[in-house]
Amino acid sequence: MTTNKRGFAQTLWDFFCSLKLSIVLLILLAATSIIGTIIPQSPPKEYLVTISEAKFKFYNAMGFFDMYHSWWFILLLYLLTVNLVACSIKRLPRVWKIVSEPTLVMDDGMEKTLSLTHEFKMPKDAASVREKLTAFLAKEFSAPVITEVDGAWHLFSQKTPWCRLGVYVVHLSIIIIFIGALIGSFFGYKAYVNIVEGTSTSTVHSARNEKPIDLGFSVRCDKFSVSFYDTGAPKEFKSLLTIIDNGQPVPGLTSRPTIVNDPLTYKGITFYQSSYGPASEGSNSYLTVRPRKGGEPVKLVVRQGEKTSLPGGGTLEVLESTQEVRNFIPEFSGPAAKVEVTPPNGRPYSFLVFKNYPNLDEQRGGDLIFTYEGSDEKYFTGLQVAHDPGVWVVWSGCILMVVGIMMAFFMSHKRIWVRVANGRIVMGGTASKNPAGFQLAFDALVEKLKQQL
């Protein structure tokens, strides 16, 4: 029974220590990740109605609509982690031993396993050979450790032994990144909020479940603006935000411009410029109307969605208005409105009026000439709100990963042994990476040493 149990545990352990498992897991992760790039994640209703019932049921059961959080995808990530930890536990002690307890003595058996060796003639003054060799290695390679065994002298020098740990640094960094992501998902949140110009709020809405989240301070939007390039493409979306904590505006965060690529952070909570739109609740438009035949201009104040009577009969309604018409008609700029005029006994007709082109309406040829003075319509700014205490853990992991990859790929543990025994001097060397490069360095060392002995 016990042997059976141990047998099972052993099998499981071997399974998780296998590099083949790593390759299979990595390929599986790559292949399954494709699904979520083809099937929309958290899809809108418009998409759902286009697929068949059976397809919907299957996708839903497999978690394809939130694939990267489905149980089987998370399971793959956990398997990868266990695989990583098991492999490291199995191999790290051996590597650690190479780093911390280097083999100081090159015996005959070891000499045969080294691909780079060279034998030197013993010079006449054999007594000073050891000092010469020590000084030579210290100068040209690195300071040697000297060991005496049965009258034979052994010198050992090495460079960057710790770079052998690079692989483990990479693997550790992956686990650190996972931990950072978990911290973020347990203790952080993503939310959004729309704030109308001139108003403030202290609650935001969770992006996951719409639940309100209290910030503990409030954010006021003083102003929102959009600017454009000559081509009509948007140049900048900007909100002026003020943080109000304990009823007081926070110094430095008063009317602070917040633009795309330059967010505002306060108490670990960051606000990102994300969208904008007109605040639809009743705004007033200001127009002036004068009869073509001549006469006093009359100022009109028109509430959005309400009819206002015109001098001489008839009514006017503002159908739509915008602070920047360029979004719709690239040739024009500035505020504009679409108005509808209903003559006393005629059919309604609609047309556009522009603030920046006050004389344009004369060309329309109507009996009444309108000029548009703009509206007090306000924008709302749409902000994304994020609080992620795990993000620094993730960045540390990323930095560690890059450092680890550099150690693993571009650094090499180089070792050189010299044995002085029985009238022979034998030098041997090995490197953990780039054997061709090390061979050149080794040959150069041999040449130099020949001249000095």
Partner: protein
């Protein structure tokens, strides 16, 4: 002289270089091989000048930014990085014949950019107005280019291995005899990926850092992000394949080709086939 004229000269150089390399494969004449490389390097220098000139031209137009902001500019930059990585590998390892399998990728990019893409210089939309754009795009594309070189080498590997399998009956001759041995090709493939993998890793990290800075999430499983991770998984599998018995050689070469196919999909396919899924302001390329 305008940048677009220089780009035309670049395209022409890569075309001539490729043709010379094909002659080299047929003739095995060392001087021809040298001419192929030199023509490619001439193209690289002209292209460098053209990219810098285009950069300056954007300032002259009043909305200066690095020429990395739209598909045309990125394809041009991709071609440039491919020849650059080829130059580095050629200088270090002296296997000229690889050019015959790498220069065509650069030519394809330049020809497509010059003939099929809108080359107008446009101002940057708000989402791209960040220094992160520069770091992110440069690291990603250098990584992609190294994978392109690795893919060319892996194709050589697969051709050569196939020929050598048949060599029992017919002696391996012809063009394939020019190739480095499959052991060397396997090693070069690994070395190219050793350049590409850290760069892709940096590319993904800078992308995540930028996304976090601009949108508040370092990772949102957007199709582009996900595909870059897919590419990363494939090359991570490659690195482990190299140290696992039974996965060395042929399977590693296939992984390298699959990896580059995924890279190209990540770069172009996502925008062409999956772009409908991108969210607001989130289409850096």
């Amino acid at each position: 002289m305008s940048s677009s004229m220089l780009f035309n000269i670049t395209t022409l150089s890569y075309m001539v270089s490729m043709l010379i390399f094909f002659v080299f494969l047929g003739s095995k004449n060392k001087t021809v091989g040298l001419a192929g490389s030199l023509t490619a390097y001439f193209g690289l220098i002209v292209q460098t000048a053209a990219i810098l000139l285009r950069w300056k031209e954007s300032y002259d137009m009043g909305h200066g930014h690095a020429p990395l902001s739209n598909l045309y500019e990125s394809v041009v930059f991709f071609s440039w990085t491919i020849i650059l990585i080829y130059a580095i590998i050629e200088f270090k390892y002296r296997y000229r014949v690889i050019g015959a399998f790498v220069v065509p990728f650069a030519l394809l990019g330049m020809a497509w950019a010059q003939l099929g893409l809108n080359s107008g210089i446009e101002p940057l939309v708000p989402a791209l107005q960040s220094n992160w754009l520069l770091y992110h795009v440069i690291t990603c594309f250098l990584g992609y280019a190294a994978f392109a070189v690795a893919c060319g080498i892996s194709i050589m590997y697969l051709i050569k291995e196939r020929k050598e399998d048949n060599a029992a009956t017919t002696p391996a001759g012809g063009i394939v005899a020019m190739f480095p041995s499959i052991k060397v090709l396997d090693d070069l493939n690994y070395r190219a990926i050793m350049i590409g993998f850290p760069l892709l890793t940096l590319g993904i990290v800078t992308g995540a850092a930028w996304a976090n800075y601009a949108w508040g999430t370092y990772w949102s499983w957007d199709p582009k992000e996900t595909w870059s991770l897919i590419v990363w998984f494939i090359y991570a599998a490659f690195l482990h394949a190299r140290i696992t018995r039974g996965w060395v050689g042929r399977r590693a070469a296939i992984l390298s080709v699959v990896g580059f196919a995924a890279t190209i999909f990540c770069y172009l396919g996502v925008n062409l086939f999956l772009s409908g899924l991108h969210s607001y302001g989130k289409s850096p390329m």
